[in-house]
Amino acid sequence: MQWESSEARFQEKIDQEIKIEPKDWMPEKYRQTLIRQISQHAHSECVGMLPEANWITRAPSLRRKAILIAKVQDEAGHGLYLYSAAETLGISRDEMYDQLHSGKAKYSSIFNYPTLTWADMGAIGWLVDGAAIMNQVPLCRTSYGPYARAMVRICKEESFHQRQGFELLLHLSKGNEAQRRMCQDAINRWWWPSIMMFGPTDDASPNTQQSMKWKIKRFTNDELRQKFIDVCAEQVKFLGMTLPDPDLKWNEERGHYDFGTINWEEFWQVIGGNGPCNQQRLDTRKKAWEEGAWVREAAAAYAEKKKARTPVQQIA
């Protein structure tokens, strides 16, 4: 009885667009859904640094290098905003790291693809960050306050990520034959994984309904994917390149682009740990965590020692 009225009051708040804050009553399933979604989002930001960090030392100019460093630093920041948003729901940072490192928690499948050429830095900015923005903008209005606030901050910063990527590709597209080939090749390799980022089709996402009701999610996977495809199909014309989908065609009747069948088998393979770089990404993360252990311990020990010594100094 008590529980039912709490649940009803909670839903009433959601319906009135009143944000839920950390100490407010919430259904346990809402809390668990958010912990998982936010922490996996945070993991994606963190692992997302790896494919790009790969190219920092090989950036073709100082300008491009500075941009890439700033972008990777932003990803770290985004991971941190999101981890602390998740912590407000009662999970600790170390638990989340454990889940990532043990392979229990997932992150976006996109980061399990390799970055083979410099043009990949452009394709990631344009397509991967573009798809992320398409997803993240509606999350700025998600019902959980700390998540929404983190997303506002992230969206403000994300725009530069996409623009620098498109600019990079634009330069390559005006370059010599080899540069143009490299540009098209990167688009070919990143296009399908990017549109998979929106997740399975709506009929294969049984919990979309609940999440829409709780206003954690505001648009379905398919709605967002269609929007992204429509936008990219136009943008690619500026590059004089093509998207690698022979079925991509404007449908006058629907007012949208039709597109080919997505290889969901590949998606599930990559999610399931069998993508080209899953092992490498996790190994890199774990190595960084383990090799940083002494730094964390030393800093904690130093802080303890300083705390113990401060009163003595004050007396003196």
Partner: protein
């Protein structure tokens, strides 16, 4: 078992649902700090978010890197989260009740002639 596929939520591992416990087994974690930032001189410090750091000096440096990468601040406060005390949202109704029937605290409550000036 819950299966969800939202953005930032990539489904279960093969071994079933991720075991997300809400117990705090964070013995080795650096403490959590709340960060407040003054965006420019003349404005209040405003809560920006939180972060982990071993001590206050590190918390301020980390806050600079995490929350002011685009010159969002000219001054930073940090306070360990455990020192924050908060009102209870479950009691918000009765807690704020005393103010809800005192419209006469607002200037618009008073009915004065339109011709009256400078008031």
């Amino acid at each position: 078992m819950i299966r969800k596929f939202y953005y930032g939520d990539y489904g279960e591992s093969k071994h079933g649902a991720a075991d997300i416990s809400t117990t705090n087994q964070n013995k080795h974690e650096w403490p959590l700090w709340e960060v407040f930032i003054r965006s420019k001189q003349g404005l209040d410090h405003k809560h920006a978010g939180s972060l982990h750091a071993a001590d206050a000096a590190m918390a301020i440096e980390n806050a600079r890197d995490v929350y002011t990468r685009r010159q969002e601040g000219v001054s930073i406060w940090v306070v360990e989260s455990k020192h924050i005390h908060a009102s209870n949202p479950d009691e918000a109704g009765s807690f704020y009740d005393p103010a809800s029937d005192k419209v006469y605290r607002h200037p618009t409550f008073y009915d004065l002639p339109d011709e009256l000036q400078y008031m």
